[in-house]
């Protein structure tokens, strides 16, 4: 595996009062690699968006650190931070909310180019916009003069991807990018992310609650609960042979047309929902290896 471009090293982020802390991230460690997609899956409230926001530096970690190309991100080095800001881009769940309704699509793409590639002439910027739109498989002449509300949900998500690509990023964090889209449109967006990753050697963090789409796009997967990554590794190893009780619970509950409703994959775990939730919310500092590129956090012995 190539060297990591972005690393979270033992990152903890706590919200709430001291007497009632909410661990949105608890000792989270993972690394993103160029040309690879890492999926982060979990139910709502598990801490997925917090991980994204930590990467976007919207919050500072309470403990632990971020490393960019192996170098810890400090507060002081302005140039390194600028470099980081343009290298790490985000795609959000609701493309409508992240686009300005009063501006054309052309404006949305031109702005990041003006900010991050100051040397470009107007003609070069125009060419770059056309290229970006072609890359996300939209017709440039048709789309450029349009306003966000004139586009479909899928087209808007393509625009957010084009905008993220405008600054030649190396890392893309996509937080539930398809969960507001219909199945038929979802596919196109997932394929696009896949192509970007391969062609531009991007490191992709794909955040979702939909395990089937995670399997479709990702090389590796992490399962999160209560701010902790309870199991991680190669997608098929984790999904075919889950070891952590919470992963097994989650996989038992995921809709699967190949199973009759009463044919539960891990009936034992599905019968212990509360117990597994309680135990999974406790710190699980140990790491156990289930196989090649497959790890989980065993419950501490009581």
């Amino acid at each position: 595996m190539s060297d990591a471009i972005l690393t979270l090293d033992n990152v903890t982020k706590v919200f709430g009062r001291a007497d009632k802390p909410v661990y949105a991230a608890r000792a989270v460690s993972f690394a993103l690699h160029p040309g690879r997609t890492l999926a982060l899956v979990g139910e709502s409230g598990s801490g997925k968006t917090t991980a994204a926001r930590l990467i976007m530096r919207e919050y500072a970690p309470d403990e632990g650190r971020l490393l960019f190309r192996g170098v810890p991100l400090g507060k002081s080095d302005a140039k390194a931070l600028r470099d980081y800001r343009s290298s790490v881009q985000m795609v959000f769940q609701d493309p409508f909310a992240s686009l300005n309704p009063t501006h054309t699509i052309r404006y949305h793409l031109e702005r990041p180019l003006k900010l991050h590639q100051k040397g470009l002439t107007a003609a070069q910027r125009q060419a770059a916009i056309v290229e970006l739109l072609e890359r996300v498989k939209l017709d440039p002449q048709l789309i450029m003069p349009k306003f966000p509300h004139e586009l479909s949900g899928g087209q808007r998500q393509r625009i957010s991807i084009a905008r993220a690509l405008a600054v030649n990023p190396q890392v893309i964090v996509a937080d539930e990018p398809t969960s507001m889209l219909d199945v038929s449109v979802r596919q196109g967006i997932l394929n696009l992310l896949n192509d970007m990753k391969a062609e531009l050697k991007l490191a992709l963090l794909y955040i979702t609650h939909d395990i089937a789409t995670a399997r479709y796009v990702a090389d590796d997967i992490m399962v999160m609960y209560a701010g902790q990554i309870v199991e991680w590794g190669a997608v098929d190893r984790v999904l075919d042979d889950p070891r952590h009780p919470y992963t097994r619970l989650l996989l038992s509950a995921v809709p699967d047309p190949d199973r009759r409703f009463d044919d539960v994959r891990f009936a034992d775990e599905l019968g212990r929902v509360e117990e597994i939730r309680t135990l999974s919310a406790r710190p699980q500092p140990e790491t156990a290896q289930a196989g090649d590129n497959h790890f989980y956090r065993p419950f501490p012995a009581v």
Binding site: R215, L250, P257
Partner: protein, 272 residues
């Protein structure tokens, strides 16, 4: 097949506009048998909710049901019910849980008061009787009776949704309509709720009209499924046939665009 609980015939519904009408439901016909779990699937905007609201007689202008459309519940013509009949029909014949139902509970009333309201509206009942019935109903959906004293905000989303389902079952309806009842909930909670519904309908014998955009889930829980496309019901079949041998090209395309949880994973190009 015994007489259907629900029989929809040539249902046509328009949304009436100032200039043009939008034909949202086009000549839809289907039946639901007693005790049957019937799924209605299709992408957003295809007309699923419009049908659900019409069947429960909850549709409002600009929705307009064309003459010639027929909706029969246990053989009774739903579309010609007068106000008095309608009051008896609701909750007792058909009850509906919708996506945001968990937010439809009255925030200033306790759970018990909300049960009491529904029970009382359909015949004289003492506080003590209502309390006993509400306790029994909560038990059906796996909720402790202590919750009767709670206000909605004290309960989780999944719990509130189960409470709404319990209220819907208060008057033993013959048909429970669920319009995306678990879409806002996580999969584990969704699974627990649907498992409960499945047990209950087998025990109590009601039928279910279940609406979702999640085809995989629908195949798992339904006996039969109808697939909708732009207002039309393009295929109705038993769940396994819809999954393993879909007949209509649109149904085939829907499956082709869905990533699978296991088995061979090939890149799929969108075909829709």
């Amino acid at each position: 097949m015994s007489d259907p609980v629900l029989s929809v015939r040539n249902l046509n519904i328009d949304y009436v506009g100032a200039e043009t009408n939008f034909h949202a439901v086009k000549n839809v016909s289907f039946d639901i048998a007693p005790g049957e779990f019937f799924g209605l699937a299709g992408e957003s905007g295809c007309g699923k909710s419009t049908i659900a609201f019409a069947v429960s007689r909850l549709h409002r202008p600009p929705a307009l049901i064309r003459t010639g459309s027929e909706i029969l519940v246990s053989g009774r013509d739903v579309l010609s019910l007068n106000d008095a009949d309608l009051r008896k029909f609701r909750w007792r014949e058909v009850a509906m849980v919708f996506q945001s139902a968990m937010n439809s509970l009255n925030p200033v009333l306790t759970i018990e008061a909300q049960f009491y309201d529904v029970l009382r509206a359909h015949g004289p009942i003492s506080r003590a009787e209502a309390h006993a019935r509400a306790t029994e109903l909560l038990k059906l959906v796996d909720i402790a009776p202590e919750r009767l004293d709670n206000y909605p905000h004290q309960c989780s989303g999944g719990m509130r949704q189960r409470i709404v389902i319990a209220i819907c079952l208060a008057l033993n309806p013959k048909l429970l309509i669920m319009d995306e009842p678990t879409t806002a909930l996580d999969v584990v909670v969704q699974r627990e709720i649907l498992q409960r519904i499945d047990v209950l309908r087998k025990k109590l014998g009601f039928s279910v009209l279940f609406i979702t955009h999640d085809l995989g889930l629908m195949v798992q829980v339904s006996d039969r499924i109808g697939i909708m496309l732009e207002g039309e019901l393009v295929e109705v079949n038993d769940a396994q046939t819809i999954y393993r041998h879909p007949q209509h090209p649109y149904t085939q395309q829907l499956w082709a665009s869905m990533p699978k949880l296991h088995g061979e994973q090939t890149r799929r190009e969108p075909v829709l």
